[in-house]
Amino acid sequence: MTRSPYVWLVSYPRSGNTWLRLALEALIEGASPRINRQRLSTPVTNRGEFDELLCVESSELTDAEIEEARPELYRALANNRSGCLILRKVHDRYWRTSGGQAVFPCDISRGAVYLVRDPRDIAISLADFWGKSIDWTIDFMADPNTAIGRPGGGMIDQLKQPLGAWSDHVTSWIDNAPLPIHLLRYEDMLAEPSRRIAEAARFAGLNDGGSEFAAMATNFGALRRQEDAEGFVERPSTAQRFFRQGKSGAWRQLLTSTQSRRIERDHGAMMRRLGYA
């Protein structure tokens, strides 16, 4: 029997997903990854990929029609890979279409690595990344109806990806997704990168032998030096840097007490559960 191909690499935006992908790539390849030539950089939900694989024009379809076809996009991609392991970046919350289909279907999923980060640090990083104020970002992270990609239309090459509030995003995957989940805290990956990369690799069914090399090859300084030297294609024009600080707890210096209290009020239960409060 063929193993299900997908291990979803899931996170709320600005939670370390790029670092995790680069680390797993270094482990698989046994070579330092080039940030502008990532092998695991498959677009999250690229419209061109959707159109080509399903032989349609997503721009002529309604959001509801696209939504119902999302699971088939992943099946079509899997068919093209002949049962090989597929590590796929995801920012969506775990969700079902209005017709009741799981967007990330169980029958093609081995499981998901869910990478979580202190929401107070996310607020700082996301505000810088999108060129928004921290207060706007805190509101965004508390809004249950948020999405990235194409909410409502526009000339954007990503399909709509529902996020929901940060706490709901975490819950949707670690509590509600009927898949094996490997929960990985960004802060633990910073503290013990080799060990945490090895654990994620084993969960994905990979040989973890190269985890020390992967940790060294993708430490923050190495990634930042690459970005300084050649730029990073994934940095938006709104941000000065993609690889900003590579540390945890910056919120203590950068958030006002009102801002941090607001986040703790919005997400306190999940923060306590994850050891952030």
């Binding site: 502008n36 419209r47 061109g48 159109d51 080509e52 694989l53 399903l54 032989c55 349609v56 024009e57 997503s58 721009s59 002529e60 379809l61 309604t62 029609e65 119902e68 076809a69 088939e72 079509a76 409502g152 239309g153 526009g154 000339m155 954007i156 090459d157 050649e230 730029g231 990073f232 294609v233 994934e234 940095r235 938006p236 024009s237 993609f242």
Partner: protein, 310 residues
Amino acid sequence: MTELHRYSFFGTVLRTPLALDVLPAPPPADIAADQVTLTLDDVPQELPNVVWSSPFLSVGPDHRVLVDVAAVGRFLVSDGREIRFSPASDATPAAVQSILLSIVAGAVLHQRGAFPLHASCVEMDGSAIAIAGPAARGKSTLAAALVARGARLISDDISVVQTGTDAPCVVQGALGMRLWPDAIDSAGVAPCGEWTPVRPGHAKHVHAANLSWMAPAPLRAILRLEVENAISPPGWRLLHGPASAAPMQNFIYRINLSRHLGRFESLCLNLMGLADHVPIIELRRPNDLGALETTVSMARDAIANVRPMR
């Protein structure tokens, strides 16, 4: 008896009982053209012995294609000549036209063995300029901006190239400029007339360009549209060698469908042959619709400075 309308349709004449408001007039009577016929008829819910399917489209072993969009209806496309259409009870003309001129047209063209670029195309100074690229690169927006500045639209999104003559030519296709609201504002085309949603409630809007017939136009250049990013600033450059036409899905309309219809290899040869005859220019636009004037200037500069190939 139902009145039949006749339109130019990607190098053929489409005979249809449906009134379509973005297809050009048919060619003069003395110009021979193959016909494609659309009839309103029952269409089966599925094809027997399907060899490939997606949620909207399936291909039979005889290369018939069934397009099924529940809110619009089912289209059965055979031999690149026949379209049987069974509309949904609440299908609107706009929605039917939207699916007919995109997904269904792609099936017709691949069945016919046509050479469809995934490109919008405009006529400038008697020559065709194709603007190629995958979804959301801004092909239609740049084409509309050039139309607002005096060019004439030859086709939006799908541009069929005829290569049998001395020089590759582009034939008229669908002449609806189809833009998102932000692009309509930026392209400078908003005042030129009515824009209607491509489908009820859809954010994308369409506006018909000049619908009079025009002869095929010799293809002067292909602009391969890219978007600036943190390591590649806006600008243009002439591409050389085999890489200029890669990846193929950035040039050929629905290349994956061509595989299922047995057309992939010949389209590879078509594209490589075209790259020998027509300059391919990478045009990297600013990632800001507000800078569309810069994109237009770069496009004009590139076209003016790249010599035609023999």
